[in-house]
Assembly symmetry: C2
Homo-oligomer: 463 residues x 2
């Protein structure tokens, strides 16, 4: 039996025991956003440190200004290579509780009408089930062969669901200890139940808030309407002018650094059969998609930048009519960025756009600059470790992984890049219907099992 | 001494006593919008009925579904002509109370640094002080000559500040009793402290509310942004498209029935020295005015129609950023109308404008149609009774009255026209700084005194 086959057999034979450990972790209500659960979060950290030590990883709970990190180290057979695995032991709040069919912290194993077994619990997928796929694969390697193939560092965070305030200070304070050849993150999805995926593109994000002030006080729309400047009209013009007739963002220089999609990726994505109809139907909408003409809905979400209004408020908000011209009004905007778009340049261009549309005497004020601004992440689909991971997934699943984009940001990836100079491999086994952040979160047992086997193959392939 | 001079002398000699009656009325907190003050409103109605009976007008308090009307009748020397005087005995709420320098229901006589005496109280002007200028003029005529020159009907309402729900039913139920050659209303302003005015133009009003729905639920702007339709973007385009580059409302047919201003009136208004600078400064703004190019700020407010957004709401309204694409958003709009613009045609054109801008699958719903829709009012500046009033004002003030427009609506004028077939003469003695509807409302004693004398002259001129 090959070195790898023994590990895979260890995983198959140990599935029941691994699920027991998974269930024990799920029973701890480690909701980081709720201060009353701080003790539970610490219990989850202790649980993970104990588990790591039990399998032979030297792990400890490390304090921060907030909830603690769990850090573990184990030397591999090959000391020349080192990977860092990142996951988080905290979970989302459970509201609205009355929409849960089972107790969110009493994991329930349910076999669906389709014959697939699923575990229902808060954190079943995000991220307790996902992070255990790696830890269990590592445990299997160590159980069979004494050590993992390469050096492994484990970093588990307890504040991912509440903004990660302690993460960057901890990375800075422990950079040498944590730096590795690459980070491995298990917090993303497969393409579908039968098809693995590696996420190689994450959009960046910059946001802003604008308050427009015109009159010195709210005005009666009859006594003053006509000559009076109305901030709601001005805001509407500012927003409508953000796009040209082809749906492209009109800010000067906005597309600087936006790459065209590589033809190979465009072809692969087109072959996914994720038609505009399907993407729009997921949102309760119909094609054609909003946004830039000439791109599919999938391309618009995975590979194109956006300007998005997240809120407008001003004037009368109650029932019925009120003849008011408000003195001021506001809107909130965010830009999703790709490629090498510079978030600060985008924000500056947006502010110029606003100022250029103010009538004489009307003022605009902006949110403080310290709001987050992160550039996009792109991992080269042809990087050696990405190719190794693709091979491991192909071996396990019998088909090539989809190289996916993700419209959202995963801030830890930018933190690893900026602070530790380290790229990330985003390989996860969630499914679109896992209901993370919602009631009745679940993780398929097949995802858990094949996730472990996939990581075991990748670890084996590293030497 | 002429018939009129005796009346004017009666008014001058009785000023102190008239002010005492005014103060007594002001002490009654007849706030119609506040149910706890219903008893006070009824007390004010009884006060007015008693006052009318005391001067010889046969008056009574008449019940409605809401607060009562006061109706009085007195026959004139000349029975061939009849006028109806309308006023309202209710007042606005007093919030914010802590901004009042004196108790709003303890009238305070204060002489300003400019030597002018003013009475501070809620309702000092609107409408208790104003309506008493007519009642006291009538009383003086009757005291001197036994009867007024012509038949007079008095109609005092108690719900003007809370939407007049009982007015139109009362007019319909008592049409024959109330119909007159013309209504006299004292609820508008002079041009300035030295210059009288007759208001001959009131803009009409139609409003609507639109809710745009796109997604089936709020969406994450990263995971879905790009192809997703954002109701806030759609609303911004709908609103921005409401005007062309010259600031004209772009709805097809919107300007049907909008007359150009008569050259004589344009010349008179231009001579008022109410420059764009002054109009904009009143609002805390700078020229050029918003709205249609080619009109002065005064013309835009008095004689041109508008589309005005009164409120927009949707998406995240709290502090900081939230990466949401809201499932729906709304806005409220009102149109001010002039000339023969048809409010229902304007609303229909607006709804077509909205529907034409909805992406496939996105829906718009509108407020119920029963919201108010009133056409503009224009009184012919050359109508005989208007000319009589202008002569009376000229005699009293030593200068011609300004024929003013008013950007707002006064719904009772439309009700009189539509239900009783009766035009209204809007002759009032308020000043722009009276702070009606605001803390520290006041009415100048000179306005009260010369207002009485002006009405006495008009009554005298009716025969």
């Amino acid at each position: 039996m090959s070195r790898l086959n023994a590990v895979l057999r260890q995983i198959d034979d140990g599935l029941e025991a691994a699920m027991k450990r998974w269930f024990d972790l799920l029973r701890i209500p480690s909701i980081s956003a709720v201060p009353a659960h701080a003790g539970d979060c610490r219990a989850a950290a202790a649980f993970m440190a104990d588990l790591l030590n039990a399998i032979g990883v030297a792990a400890e709970v490390r304090e921060t200004a907030g909830l603690p990190m769990v850090v573990g180290h184990v030397a591999g057979h090959d000391r020349s290579r080192r990977v860092l695995f990142y996951g988080h032991y905290d979970v989302q709040p459970v509201d609205p509780l009355d929409e849960w069919k089972t107790d969110p912290f009493a994991p329930a194993l349910v076999t669906g009408d389709d014959g697939r077994a699923r575990v229902y619990a808060r954190g079943a997928a995000d991220d307790k089930g996902q992070l255990l796929t790696f830890i269990e694969a590592l445990a299997a390697h160590m159980a069979v062969h004494g050590r993992p193939p390469v050096d492994v560092v484990i970093l588990l965070e307890g504040e991912e669901e509440s903004g990660s305030p302690s993460l960057e200070p901890f990375l800075r304070a422990n950079a040498d200890e944590l730096r590795a050849d690459m980070a491995l993150i298990c917090d993303t999805n497969q393409w579908d139940a039968d098809t693995p995926a590696i996420t190689t593109r994450l959009r960046g994000l910059v946001h802003d808030e604008v308050t427009i002030k015109a009159a010195k006080a709210d005005l009666h729309s009859g006594l003053f309407g006509g000559p009076a400047h109305n901030p709601l009209h001005i805001i509407s013009h500012i927003i409508a002018d953000l796009w040209d007739d082809d749906g492209r963002v009109s800010l000067p220089g906005f597309y600087d650094g936006v790459p065209e999609l590589p033809e190979a990726l465009r072809t692969q994505w087109a072959a996914l059969d994720m038609t505009d109809e399907k993407v729009m139907a997921q949102m309760g909408m119909q094609p054609p998609p909003a946004g830039e003409r000439g791109y599919s809905a999938l391309e618009l979400n995975w590979a194109r930048p956006t300007a998005e209004i997240n809120g407008i408020g001003g004037g009368y908000q109650g029932p019925g009519a009120k003849t008011v011209i408000p003195a001021e009004a506001f809107f909130k905007i965010s830009f999703r960025l790709v490629g090498k778009q510079d978030p600060l340049k985008v924000r500056a261009a947006f502010r110029d756009h606003v100022r250029a549309r103010l009538p004489s005497g009307v003022t605009a004020s902006f949110a403080d600059d310290d709001g987050g601004a992160s550039a996009a992440i792109e991992v080269d689909e042809n990087a050696p470790l990405v190719r190794l991971a693709a091979r491991a997934l192909t071996d396990e699943w019998g088909k090539e992984p989809v190289m996916m984009g993700c419209g959202a940001s995963i801030p830890v990836v930018a933190s690893f890049r900026d602070i530790l100079g380290m790229d990330s491999l985003l390989m996860g086994f969630g499914l679109a219907d896992d209901a993370i952040h919602s009631p009745n979160e679940k993780y398929d047992v097949a995802c858990f099992h094949k996730g472990m086997r996939s990581w075991a193959r990748l670890l084996d392939a590293l030497t």
